[in-house]
Symmetry: C3
């Protein structure tokens, strides 16, 4: 499913509010049952406002004798996203003020956006720019700003409880793959499996949206849900060749933080983690923000770097971020990891002891003293009716599943109940 | 008193429920006022069940021509405790499956028990086993399982308050001394002194019992006492040549933990300590268990070792653990230390200040500013009506008795009251 | 103002209750609006009692042939403060038992006081003592103990709130300067500026008093004020050449502690700090004492030293502690620092967010995303309606004023209210 998703929609010009974005969300909604929320241009979303729909028919640079040097039709990155329209002759100096390149990556077209501070602009390979020696060029940027609607796709897996967990990825960023088709594909893959399974305890929501404004739109129109959101995970850049990077939430003692940290560490011993806002910035900022306070972590495969604003992987925000560079094995591993996190959430309960003192193991058929001695001692002296399974796993250092399995045995023997 | 106790009962075959055990507890009850609780075979004790009484009339190995190679009558350790009866000729291979030795200690008979997973078995010196070259031997194990009663001896020193502290040692383990005649002797010695003194503030209980099942039996039949048990200390292996080892309780911030740690450190600068379940395992597990939660520490003189299951001292669980290897000075030092702990419990109160601000020392006859300056400053700024004397000693690093003495002066001068 | 204060009153014989002290407090009350509290000899003040007024008309040493070797009239330090009267011939041995010098500082007259354990005594340069080879000398100590009144000067700057902060310095110690004319001068200078400014939010009180007994007197007669005193700062020895030394209060998590630590560190990167009672001892002990519990810190410029009782600066408690050794630049810097602390107290509020989620910066004129990105991210995710500005500055490591300024912007944009 992940390959299908990425191959079919990665190349679309998926700007914030745009036909390309709509095409992509429609394609996704054909694959899983998905509700599509629409928020018209101008809608107030907390402090944010939904922008206009942006349509780019063409954006090209021509020589004065009519030769096209590059065009949006070849790659949507040639236009600055949300560029103002512009047509006319410009001298080279003016052109260069509006022509964006990456001198450090001469063969890459950079991804540049001007959503709110508007200007006209083009992007191209730096190697091409260096051949531009004429005094004058012709610029044609045929864009349009119109009333439109921002779209958020939501896949809901209804659980026995109203309390829910949110998984989130962004669908914007034209013609790029790891950022964040990778997160979208992993989220879809995980929810496909979740939909195929039995009804879960908790409700799970996958929200696919344009970055930041999408979260503001969805949250501000679902405020009654917020008290029920017990945790969240932002998914992004999961197809790089790097180990997992886990960014803790703004309330790092949450159960969601504990579970994500334990399971990611078990699944990927090379993973690294850091505090909120120290790994990579995305919609988790909206969810963790004042008045919302959802403990949303971020799972990615970005590089550890001294400056947060250094590129998180080498093709970041350029035309080189294509399916060709995707590490499909890593993508699959991340998908399985996220499913493991959901399993751990499902299994996380507070065991309340129904017995007193040390256990007389010989009496209970399912307890084998010799082989379970270590896990038993690590677990039973932490049964205080307050610590969760995740807390016990964290404190004891035992594998999560070992704690779950032993609690299951205690439950079968009627030695604990699960609160 | 300790020498008398150990000399008179160490050699008895003190199996869990047995005539030898009963003889031992009767001997102890002649030395101090002691109530003996009896729990018949089959009694439910939390998840535990009191086992049958075990009687061993003989257990010997003979050559086919009738020569006795070893016999229970020489040393009760020659029989596996709770061995099934067995009589007959066995080939060497079968014999060796049931004959326990310690190859690393060729002159020691090991102590082996099969209380709940039953089988027949003998134990002997490894050096003797190595001489067994015949093809066939005769085994005679004349044991019997009958209805009996597990016995717990309890010495109570009634204080002014119902709140109580438990001191505990186990009397089982045939013909062994440090494990745990040593703890029994120290407990008896301490309670003898306590009974001779004035009525204490708190109630103190010494419980002498067969390991683990004894605690389950006593606690499950005294559940109404549990909320009044403010702390406990398990006593064991106190006659080895090693420094004290203190194992914290499962609630290591308790007042009992604080007091035991402070006083043991003061009395034995070479002591070492570690977390609950990291030093040595005994009945403190029952007391600290779910639904009971008594902060019981363990005081011993075991070796610090990488693997908790390495022997805690060299003669552990063998026939070499006799009074000959006891360090009587250490036993006496431990006895005095436990009495010091009780004194510290008695003195531990919450001082509530009856004055305001810095003290005008010149006004109070009992306060000598020059000599008391240091202790005064360390104490009076911690008087908040919440911190106990133990808390103040811990925070300030002052000797416990210095804090007690200064609080006594403040009380005499009506500058504090004790809550 | 500071120079004027010090020059005019440093040389006065400012003993605890004395004409010299009264002269000094009268001089100060001419400079700022000051209420003078009087507590007659014998008044009970918590555990303390106001001592008698002490008058010294002369205290001199004469040779038997009538030559004056030194006299109180040359320097009030020649008399032990609160010396008993004495007149008569003494042999050299007796004299030497009552004649105090500093062998390590042969040209300094030491400051010696016997407020409560009384005796007669003289002080002189050690170099002079070494010339005293006669067998007999004549001592004349013409002192008198009478009913008097201890005086505390209080400057109040009434704020909008009853809650108040105390600044404190002591005026006693005859003919000395850094200890603590320096603190008095800084306090007066700070309060002069405060009186010139607009009405503050909080009420501020400067109390100038004789050490320790002055605090006992003032506090015990203003007990209803105590619950409103949110913090305090003792000022002392601020004219030495050393960096600032900040002594935390006995409740080091207080807002007053947080503010003083942040602002002092920002103003004086060479500052050092330590726990309550670890830097220098003064009236902050009375304020932090049991039943009062005002978080009063101490700001000085004393040396860091292994033994708290080593001299905090070289001229301490001697006749060398004169205006000649004052570092006026340091005194001015300290005065400005204390004013900065007051500004920080004034600005310290709890911001309550009125928005949800991440901010849409482009919408708010006063927020410039590019330049404010760092401070914004550090601040907004800490807005939980519980953390104060001081807490946010401490946690984030941002300069205090940057947090204040950004909160001000949020307030202007109606994005927070201040609780």
């Amino acid at each position: 499913m992940m390959k299908n998703i990425i191959d079919s929609i990665w190349a679309l010009p998926r700007d914030l509010v745009s036909d390309g974005y709509d095409q992509a969300i429609d394609a996704l909604s054909d694959m899983l049952p998905m509700r599509i929320h629409e928020y018209p241009t101008g809608t107030e979303c907390f402090t944010w406002i939904v922008p206009e729909k942006w349509t780019c028919r063409d954006a090209r640079l021509e020589t004065m004798d009519g030769k096209t040097l590059f065009s949006y039709k070849d790659n949507p990155l040639h236009a600055v996203s949300y560029s103002l329209p512009y047509s006319g002759e410009v001298d080279r100096e003016t052109l260069f003020q509006h022509l964006h390149t990456r001198p450090d990556m001469p063969e890459a077209i950079p991804f540049i956006f001007k959503y709110y501070k508007r200007d006209w602009g083009l992007c191209c390979r730096h190697s091409l720019k260096q051949t531009l020696t004429d005094d004058t060029y012709r610029v044609v940027i045929d864009t349009e700003f119109t009333q439109g609607a921002l779209k958020v796709g939501e896949v809901v897996v209804k659980g026995k409880k109203q309390d829910c967990y949110i998984f989130c990825a962004h669908l914007c960023h034209p013609a790029q793959t790891n950022d964040d088709m990778a997160g979208v594909a992993v989220g879809m893959d995980v929810f496909r499996r979740l939909l195929e399974g039995p009804q879960p305890e908790y409700t799970y929501r996958l929200v696919i949206l344009p970055e930041t404004i999408g979260s503001a739109a969805w949250l501000s129109h679902n405020e009654s849900l917020i008290p029920h959101i017990k945790g969240g995970l932002f998914l992004e850049m999961l197809g790089t060749p790097h180990p997992h990077a886990l960014q803790r939430s703004n309330t790092p003692d949450s159960q969601m933080d504990t579970i994500c940290r334990l399971i990611t560490r078990e699944a990927d011993p090379k993973m690294w983690e850091d505090d909120f806002m120290k790994v990579i910035l995305n919609d988790e900022r909206m969810f963790n923000g004042p008045g919302i306070n959802v403990p949303m972590l971020s799972l990615s495969r970005v590089l550890q770097r001294d400056d947060l604003y250094d590129p998180p992987y080498s093709e970041y925000h350029t035309s080189l971020d294509t399916p060709d560079v995707l590490d499909w094995d890593n993508l699959n591993r991340s998908s399985r990891l996220v499913s493991r996190i959901i399993e751990a959430i499902e299994a996380n309960r507070i065991p309340v002891p129904l017995f007193k003192g040390e256990l007389f193991c010989s009496r209970f058929k399912s307890i084998d003293y010799a082989s379970m001695f270590h896990v038993m001692n690590a677990v039973i002296y932490r049964l205080d009716g307050e610590k969760s399974i995740a807390d016990i796993a964290r404190e004891s250092g035992l594998p999560y599943d070992d704690v779950v399995a032993f609690i299951e045995i205690l439950k079968k023997e009627k030695l604990v109940r699960l609160a």
